[in-house]
């Protein structure tokens, strides 16, 4: 179920937070409201970590990650890196990359299986991504924009892209990513999808300007209505019992 919230009166939730299936990063704000909102949804399921990257609060746009790993830019200080390594679960590999394009969140859009990358990314970086995150990397553009990380919000069940994406592009991307895609908007017609919302397999958080229509689109494409964290565990349990017998 998608939730509407604000970070210090700003609707760009995806800028100040990073949500994956294994963990959640939030920025340090003046009041605790932002953090509490995440906590109320995700408290016992995944760890929620308050952090800054390079001293800034725009952590959502600077780092890219999935349940396997987290990539942070070279501007991250050692203390922050250490803090992240301490707070996140052990199976999550935290790696600092030396890359000219340091806003990794804007350059990389990924879920647990596949990632889209900025066309000008280094070859080494691409290899590191494939390695650390355990994904297949595709260099792509979305509606003619090279910042794929900003204009696409991706989860394992679906994705939303820039509203001006043509039908052919949509098909192509959908084939690459192997998930259903829709061209849509967030935050009352804003085209920068990933900055306006953050999503994982069972929940999504959007800016409070998001209209009911947009919210319903998000719910339907990411299949959030039926998704509860427990239902995933139940499915796993069913398969386990099968093998037992």
């Amino acid at each position: 179920m998608a939730t509407r919230l604000q970070f210090e009166n700003n609707c760009e939730v995806g800028v100040f937070s990073k949500l994956t299936n294994a963990y959640c990063l939030v920025a340090i704000g003046g009041s605790e409201n932002f953090y509490s909102a995440f906590e109320s949804e995700l408290a016992d399921v995944i760890p929620i970590v308050k952090t800054s990257i390079g001293g800034t609060r725009i952590i959502g746009r600077l780092c890219a990650g999935n349940k396997n790993g987290l990539l942070v830019p070279h501007t991250t200080t050692d203390q922050e890196l250490q803090h992240l390594r301490n707070s996140l679960p052990d199976q999550v590999v935290v790696q600092r990359i030396e890359e000219r394009l340091s806003a990794l969140g804007n350059c990389i859009a990924c879920n647990d299986h596949v990632a889209l990358a900025h066309t000008d990314l280094d070859k080494e970086t691409e290899e590191i991504i494939a390695d650390v995150l355990g994904v297949e990397v595709f260099r792509q553009t979305i509606a003619g924009n090279i910042l794929v990380g900003s204009y696409c919000a991706l989860s394992n069940r679906g994705g939303i892209v820039h509203p001006h994406t043509s039908v052919e592009d949509l098909d192509e991307l959908s084939t690459l990513l192997q998930v259903p895609l829709v061209a849509g908007t967030v935050n009352r017609g804003s085209e920068v999808i990933a900055a306006g919302m953050t999503v994982n397999d069972w929940t999504a958080f959007c800016g409070s300007d998001t209209t009911a229509t947009e919210l319903s689109v998000i719910d339907s494409i990411f299949k959030l209505r039926e998704a509860q964290p427990s239902s995933i565990v139940d499915e796993m349990r069913k398969s386990l019992i099968d093998t037992y017998v």
Partner: protein, 514 residues
């Protein structure tokens, strides 16, 4: 999948559809990502624009007020009115005006409705177009000039007082016809006839100025301009004046006999002291009957010396011509042919006394004719110069001026003329009793003026004469067989009056000659 002209492989891009973020209706994506209706409901670009406004209209002259002071003439639902209405709206420069048109309202409803279509940019680049109505309330308000006119319709700002100090009104009859022909007094508020002159009243100083200009071109005049303060607005330092032009027409008329002062005579190349004035336009033409030499004096030259005529046309007497000798000299002066010859004449009243005089009318006089001329021998002239010349015995006994057609006119007595003239709408000066104008005298003078017109084609040059509807041609032709008839205006020179009848047009103007 097709190739374009440069050979590059280009994928065909179809625009997908997104849902409107507000209402969920599928639509092609745009800059605001909202459907048009939602965008319109969200943003009103006509906010802050004037939707109703008051304008002032003068019902007398049909003008609309543009504050602070200009009045603009415009027809109902015309382009001028449209642009005026749009100019009156404030804040319209914030949006771009695409289209404006009138919405029909009853003419007596005192409302003008306009439908304006404007375009403005909203929300990150989307351009929205919207139409909205504007209502104008029309209020009646007389403009300044109309209100001034309403208060006192006879009010004039400038007046031209035209005077000629002679005992007849021939020049004024001629001037009247000229003015009618050139429409010079069309803007006069009032025209008044006074003793020895005419007064013209105008509503505007420039009208009076142009009238005086016109006069200076047709008669030799001298004028002065004076003004009188009527009111004075202290705050804005505006002064209201009444202007008066005092115009004097030169007192020398056609057919006058003039004895030139010696100075003038020598400055004109020793033109004989006695000269006849043959034509008055913007210059006076003086003809010496003895040498057939001509001189022209314009207004300034005349008033430098300011001489008066010795004998005027009132003092013309009839002479009978007994014998005309063959001409000794001929000349064409100013378009007119003259022939110098000696004639044997005698005064009608004193047939016994025969005189042989030199005359310049040798080309038209024949034995048995009657002529009009000045009797210098017997005249009592109040002129020092002439008295001096008389002392030295250098004056001729008589000077003939023109041929007399009285005998021929006898036949036509009582029959109407072939032409009529129009008149200016003049008021008569009733106020001064003794010095008022005598109607009987006026008629005689007018009759003489008409005869003058018949005899002199050059006088008719600048005048419009109209066909007399009552005139019948057949009578005239009968009398024409008895030899030479009285001179008349040839029928080609006459204009037919424009008659507007109910069915459309009557006679049109057929001006073939001029």
């Amino acid at each position: 999948m097709d190739q374009d002209s440069s050979g590059m492989f280009k994928v065909q891009q179809t625009i997908g559809s997104v849902v409107c973020c507000k209402c969920g209706v599928p639509m092609p994506p745009n800059a605001a990502n909202m459907c048009v209706n939602c965008l319109r409901s969200e943003v009103d670009i006509t906010e802050g624009l004037q939707k109703s406004i008051q304008i002032f209209y003068c019902p007398e002259c049909g003008c609309y007020l543009q504050p602070p002071k200009t009045w603009i003439k415009a027809q109902w639902e015309s382009r001028d009115l449209l642009s005026f209405c749009i100019k009156r709206l404030k804040n319209l420069n914030k949006v771009r005006l695409k289209n404006a048109e009138f919405v029909w309202t009853e003419p007596h409803s005192k409302r003008i409705k306009l439908k304006l279509t404007v375009q403005a940019e909203v929300l990150n680049g989307a351009v929205l177009e919207q139409s909205y109505p504007v209502e104008y309330t029309v209020r009646d308000n007389l403009c300044e000039s109309c209100s001034r006119f309403q208060a006192n319709p006879d009010q004039w700002v400038a007046s031209v007082q035209l005077r000629q100090h002679v005992s007849h009104r021939r020049s004024f009859f001629y001037l009247e016809q000229l003015i009618l022909r050139h429409d010079a007094a069309s803007r006069a508020v009032r025209i008044k006839q006074v003793h020895q002159g005419i007064d013209f009243f105008f509503g505007n100083k420039s009208h009076a100025d142009s009238f005086v200009d016109f006069l200076s071109k047709v008669v030799p005049i001298e004028y002065r301009q004076d003004k009188q303060l009527v009111s004075h607005d202290v705050k804005s330092s505006l002064y209201n004046y009444k202007y008066t032009y005092s115009v004097k027409i030169c007192p020398i008329c056609r057919e006058d006999l003039i004895c030139l002062p010696s100075k003038v005579s020598s400055s004109l190349g020793n033109l004989g002291p006695l000269v006849v004035c043959t034509k008055v336009s913007d210059r006076i033409t003086l003809l010496d009957p003895r040498t057939l030499r001509c001189a022209f004096l314009d207004a300034r030259q005349y008033w430098r010396s300011g001489f008066q005529s010795a004998l005027t046309s009132r003092q013309l007497v009839k002479y009978s011509v007994f014998y005309v000798e063959p001409p000794v000299g001929e000349a064409t002066v100013g378009g007119q042919k003259y022939a110098l010859s000696y004639v044997l004449i005698a005064r009608e009243s004193d047939i016994g006394k025969m005189l042989t005089v030199q005359t310049h009318l040798g080309h038209i006089l024949k034995t048995g004719d009657q002529a009009l001329g000045y009797d210098i021998y017997g005249a009592n002239v109040n002129d020092d110069e002439m008295a001096e010349y008389r002392l030295h015995g250098r004056l001729p006994e008589a000077i003939l001026i023109k041929k007399c057609y009285d005998k021929e006119r006898e036949r036509k007595k009582g029959k109407p003329r072939a032409f009529t003239t129009k008149k200016l709408p003049m008021e008569m000066d009733e106020s001064r009793g003794g010095r008022g104008v005598d109607p009987g005298k006026m008629e005689n003078e007018y009759e003489e003026f008409l005869r003058d017109l018949e005899e002199n084609p050059e006088l008719r040059f600048n005048i419009s004469l109209y066909k007399n509807k009552d005139y019948q041609e057949s009578d005239e032709t009968a009398s024409m067989t008895d030899g030479e008839g009285a001179p008349t205006v040839p029928i080609e020179e006459l204009l037919a009056e424009l008659e507007l009848s109910e069915e459309g047009e009557g006679d049109g103007e057929d001006d073939m000659d001029e």
